[in-house]
Symmetry: C2
Subunit: 505 residues, 2 copies
């Protein structure tokens, strides 16, 4: 149809032709790494998290906006921390007009494009939330996916620390909405301005070196004082022998920085006082500390205590676009994986001020701040630890194939009463049908053979009660005679009896 074909579409054409030539060869049933198939429990956990966190954003006055999956690569920008990944960490392809497009790696870069594109038409401040997938072309691993859902809230056109305090309060509420009780989460707050101040104090002035220093400080949580000291100095070798180059600082410089990142106190006000002493003499540090003091004041007015939101000088945040207060949300509850081993969860979200992102497009400054929760890892952990169970449907067994209409009507009666129910549509006998119901985690099966039909009754087998009773029986013969959990009732009582079994009102 006359569409210009880029290198991508030419290469695809070759693959497509090949598969036409060899179309009788069967494809392998396999899938690309890092995009796991997500089953019901994970999806239910994701949905619950997305809904509850979106409700928080909605209640705080943010409106939903979805900017779609693709952006032009120049509009997306390059702000990911792992710049040594292929394709700069994104999934990119050439559109049919030859321009390069890429799947969004977060919701913030596309928001900046949206705000710049619609600047004259949007209300300001502009408050939006977004809940949807982002894609990163990274090395996948356990609980490390190449697609994951992020739930973001952002305010654009807001300059003061009140907007940052609001984001931190929202982060705390989002953690609660995600199921974290008091003491099960903490928001750790720091400031890029304060980090600039301490780097100035330590005599780190070169912008490129500052980047290396920030990346080193960002590893404190992972490698501790010892690791960060190496990364700030000569470099660090990991267990595999790979070497990460160091920032090359002198011992006295490293001392200043390490003392700084370990200077957290129990209360926000005490930490702010200590920070004022260490960085207050620099302009950037002074301004950053003043912001933290104002943030503390608003958080206190909102009833957010020192246990829920703390000031932590070791927080850096990986993304390069932050310019002011930054923070991370940590889920402290201990999860257990499928093997029952404890999993520490760490940071599930974060955010901060990014005053330069919209200016990339517009030239003029547009101050902004935001927060993002990563939902997918958390949902996977909740599902793996058994927090999200899905109850199966009631199964209407099929004993007489010519009675499908009648079986269908029985299942329909149950559904109309709000009960999950299906008719068995496979081709197996009764025993296999009950086994199928067990595998589906069904609470009960409904059995209607010719006897029941004639008598106007149904037989109901309560699978949970049956399983519980069978456990206590050793004699197979007794089990057969007693048929635990199984009983008859008039058709007109079927719905009520099933609802009682399923625990539905």
């Amino acid at each position: 149809m006359g569409y210009p074909a880029g290198p991508n579409s030419r290469a695809w054409g070759r693959v497509a032709m090949m598969s036409n030539d060899e179309q009788h060869r069967r494809p392998d049933a396999r899938k690309p790494r890092g995009f796991p198939d997500r089953t019901a429990a994970v999806i239910a956990a994701e949905r619950r998290l997305v809904d509850s966190i979106s409700s928080v954003y909605q209640r705080w006055g943010f409106d939903a906006l979805d900017t779609g999956p693709f952006e032009y690569v120049d509009a997306l920008g390059k702000f990911l921390p792992d710049t040594d990944r292929p394709n700069s960490g994104v999934f990119a392809l050439q559109d049919d007009d030859e321009q390069w497009i890429a799947l969004r790696y977060d919701h913030t870069a596309p928001l900046a494009r949206y705000v710049a594109e619609n600047w004259e038409r949007i209300p300001k401040p502009f408050r939006r939330y977004s809940a949807g997938p982002v894609w990163r072309n990274e090395k996948p691993g356990p609980f490390r996916f190449r697609e994951f859902i992020q739930c973001d809230a952002d305010s654009v056109g807001v300059a003061g620390p009140a907007a940052d305090a609001e984001m931190i309060a929202i982060a705390a509420e989002a953690m609660q909405a995600a199921g974290a009780g008091q003491g099960e989460y903490v928001i750790r707050v720091n400031s890029r301005q304060i980090l600039d101040g301490i780097m100035e104090t330590a005599g780190v002035l070169d912008p490129a070196q500052r980047g290396t220093v920030l990346r080193a400080l960002d590893k404190f949580d992972k490698f501790g004082v010892e690791g960060v000291t190496l990364l700030l100095g000569k470099g660090r070798k990991d267990e595999s022998g790979d070497v990460t180059a160091g920032a090359g600082l002198a011992g006295s410089q490293i001392d200043v920085l390490v003392e700084f990142i370990t200077s957290r106190s129990i209360t926000r006000s005490e930490t702010a006082r200590k920070l004022a002493n260490s960085v207050g003499m620099t302009r950037s540090g002074d301004s950053g500390v003043a912001e933290l003091v104002e943030i503390d004041c608003i958080l206190s007015a909102l009833g957010i205590g020192d246990d829920a939101a703390t000031f932590d000088p070791s927080i850096v945040r990986g993304l390069e676009y932050y310019t002011g207060p930054v923070f991370e949300a940590e889920f402290l509850r201990e999860f257990r994986d499928a093997e029952g081993d404890p999993m520490r969860f760490g940071s599930v979200g974060g955010g901060g001020r990014y005053d330069g992102l919209v200016a990339r497009f517009r030239g003029e400054p547009a101050p902004a701040t935001g927060f993002s929760v990563g939902v997918s890892r958390l949902a996977a952990a909740m599902a793996a630890s058994g927090e999200a169970q899905v109850e199966g449907p009631v199964l209407v067994l099929v004993l007489d194939k010519d009675q499908m209409a009648d079986y269908s009507a029985l299942a329909s009666d149950l559904r109309r009463a709000g009960v999950r129910a299906e008719v068995y549509l496979g081709s197996s006998g009764m025993k296999a049908q009950v086994k199928y119901a067990d595998r589906r985690n069904s609470p009960a099966v409904v059995i209607v053979g010719s006897n029941e039909r004639t008598a106007g009754i149904v037989t109901i087998k309560d699978l949970k009660a049956g399983a519980a009773a069978a456990k206590g029986m050793t004699d197979n013969e007794a089990w057969r005679n007693e048929r635990p959990g199984q009983f008859e009732c008039p058709r007109s009582e079927m719905v009520a009896r099933i609802k009682a079994i399923a625990g539905q009102p």
Copy 2:
């Protein structure tokens, strides 16, 4: 990091370097065609549709499964109707292991891969639903997107027409869940086997020609008898002068086919009788009609009348993988677009039997049937016609910047009571703040200046009442004095008064 770079990543590397070199040039704030930014009303409509349709699938015993965005291109297969589109209609790129991957164009092809990959582990029949985006590299247009949400239900391992009848009943229920009342939707059912039968009767025996004939018949809804006659014969020229090649059938053959596709009667049973006469003498046709008779019987038992589900011999379905009963769901309600012009909606979903799709991988047959609703177009139409409105947040005005903690606490009181509320975080004066509230569609603003603070009261401005009252006033002076919709109350009554204005219990 030593990842092999495909042609795609090399070319991206070039683009990335370019943007590094020219990083002071500002990117254009624009986005790729066919991926519109979706705002709150559209997202709300989508969410409502996805939730209500998923509930139907859930109630019928389907479990959620999401297979993720990417599949290997050979696993995805080539079943899209528009084979002349670039990249065969998909978005493809080369992964870092050099294999070609593509975004899914529907939920069915990935399901077939999943079932084949997990055959030994899944319960059979396998019943899953999926609600999420699919991507098509097509020419975008109004209400024609390159990303859209589909909600699918599928049963794998089910051979009989009872499973197809169930899908049709689910389709009817899904339409109701989407908001279609009685008479506002219809499910149109046909059978690929019957279409095979009528082609045999008409003497169309060549498989390639059968494909062309099916594509011609599929255009009946769009071009009517005249257009289809041309497409079955010598070909058809459209208004732009483009010619679609015809199937080259003789007049007598065309007569048989056209009579067939126009042979719908009011009732399913009457249509089945007529079809038995026209195609019943072929083996394929006979089997197809017998299935429709059984489907009719089950639909009747489920209380689904001839108005909700009809047999329509003109239904074909575009996708190539169907093998048995096929059907389309049509939304009959008339929508109006943003200009108030009527929009006819037509088919919003469809489905059918595809017994060969899993066998592509496994070799052995695995009968299957499914249904899919396209949610995005419908949501866009609902939003455009004003069916999905979003109420804005209550705005707490900021008159004294040093009282941010107090304003924040007021908004927090409202939110705790379930009211959407925000503090104004921009830098404008009071008049601009009220204007902002208007633009956000806020029901009310809360005003606390030094007078109110001293007196322990708040001033509330009911924006809806104010706007209504202002409409009736011509005298600007009167408006200023009366301040319609504005009143004072004690702080302790603020929440109750605001809830009354917002109509919340």
